[in-house]
């Protein structure tokens, strides 16, 4: 497998406070990499550095480099707008645009990026995205309903469709199921499993069983450091670091 994203010596700060310390990690293409660790260990901060969302917070900054498609995303030449389109994100709590219809939610990104030529084309693209997010059948008759009228699990899939609509290469999931019920969670896990055929996926989760179920690679973070990174099976059956072992056997976290 190719390497899609190379993280080199990444340090992240909130003002003076360092929250990520010298992270080095390589994300493989078309695979699911999960990031696990106890609360506050820096998992969310880590993936937010990858699509440069971390720096949106006042006084937040980053040192180090992240190579994506051969270019350091933190270099002067990088177009952040393009980057964020290519590296999509799904958030912990579903956040569809409440005043927009389901259709418009998905179409929003497409329209911004000018991906379509005629109205017909837009309809197709929206339908495609909703199908990929396993939501089409449930909403095809109510596309004009507001995005907020769906259930939690459906809203999250709508957000996934919204992210897919702009044709990303990588999708970042920040604890996408933590606000959802088990059935919705299962649906989304299936979805992620299917998506990895086309997309590179990084998922942050505090649910170890979830990581074990769906990911190919797993990284264990603790207190801002990457403690261990390996294939998922190795991490869960044969952890090399004592701290990793303690975490996955439930001694803390």
């Amino acid at each position: 497998m190719e390497e899609k994203i190379k993280v080199n010596n990444l340090n992240a700060y909130f003002g003076e406070r360092k929250v990520l310390n010298n992270i080095n990690i390589n994300i493989k293409e078309r695979a699911v990499t999960s990031i696990i660790g106890p609360s506050g260990c820096g998992k969310s901060t880590f993936i937010r550095c990858i699509n440069r969302m971390h720096e949106v917070i006042p006084n937040a900054r980053v040192e180090g480099s992240i190579i994506f498609d051969g270019i350091d995303i933190y270099s002067e030449k990088t177009d952040v707008i393009s980057l964020r389109r290519k590296i999509g994100m799904v958030f912990q709590k579903p956040n569809p645009f409440p005043t927009l219809s389901i259709y418009d939610n998905v179409a929003a990104g497409i329209k911004l990026n000018g991906f379509f030529k005629r109205k017909d084309n837009l309809d197709d693209l929206v339908e495609q995205a909703l199908k990929m997010a396993a939501l089409w059948d449930e909403v095809k008759d109510k596309l004009s309903h507001p995005g907020s009228s769906l259930s939690g699990g459906q809203q999250q899939r709508l957000c996934i469709a919204r992210a897919l609509a702009v044709k990303p290469e990588v999708i970042l999931f920040d604890e996408p199921c933590s606000a959802l019920d088990p059935i919705s969670t299962a649906k989304i896990e299936d979805l992620i499993f299917n998506l990895k055929k086309e997309y590179t996926i990084i998922i942050v989760t505090h649910n170890m069983q979830q990581a074990a179920r769906i990911s190919d690679f797993t990284g264990f973070f603790l207190l801002g450091e990457l403690v261990e990174f390996n294939t998922t099976s190795e991490i869960f059956t044969n952890p090399k670091d004592k701290r990793t072992e303690n975490y996955i056997t439930g001694r803390f976290g």
Binding site: I81, R85, F91, P96, T99, A108, G109, N113, C159, A163
Partner: protein
Amino acid sequence: MKKGKIIDLIFKITTTVFALTVVVIVILMIYNMIKQSMPAFNKFGLKFLTDTIWDPLAEKFGALPFIYGTIVSSMIALFIAVPFSLGAVLFLSEIAPEWIKEPVSFLIELLAAIPSIIYGLWGIFVLIPILRNYVEPFLAKYFGYLPFFKGEFYGCGMLAGGIILSIMIVPTISSISKDVFNSVPQTQREAALAIGATKWETIKLAVLNYSKTGVLGAIILGLGRALGETMAVTMVIGNCPKISISLFEPSYTIASVIANEFTEATSDLYISVLVEIGLILFIITIILNVCARLLVWSVSGKLKGKVIE
């Protein structure tokens, strides 16, 4: 124990009675104003609202020029104030760094504390000369083909009234819009950024869409404030009850005619007419206020009313 219960009961009753004062005041206001307007209403009926002659000596009274003046000057004020207020508030809340945001927000709040009379004073001695010497000649020269800029200009008039009102309602619109924009959850902005939106696109997609209702409420409250403004407008609008499409012409608002002529009113009928005009203003502002509050409350969720100066 018994004594404590009695004390508490008296306490509750006392505070309730005092709180009811506002309700009593409003009811009395409505009652008294209607009662005092009856003579005028009986004499002129509904034609009062559409008549344009204002001749106190001949006891001919028509309210239309004032209704026209009030509404048009307020509309001009909104037209000018809304875009600049929203632009400034968006800049302050979405883009400006903390060291700009704090002092500038403070300055805008200070605008709200300046009393109307001082705006009026400034209006007479600063704004009107500027209009007469620079702005209106410019408008007449380059846009004189439009009906709005025809005729002689004196500096004072509808345009001056509209402009001074616009400055005065900026703080109202700004402070409510600021609250509305601040209540947009950060996750909405992040959602827009995450699909590759620029800062402006994020504002359009995540902030403005979400805030439509609240901003509308802010605008209506601004309108309400403009309609009731008295001193500053009186001092610059020319105080002449004529209806004209040209902004250079003098005009007269409901509040201004009451301010100017109430103490000069020589007959009971005259006073009754002025009270009736005031009643019209009263009713319009109440309706606007109620609508605006309902809109703003529906966005901010709780039954929190901001006391607008």
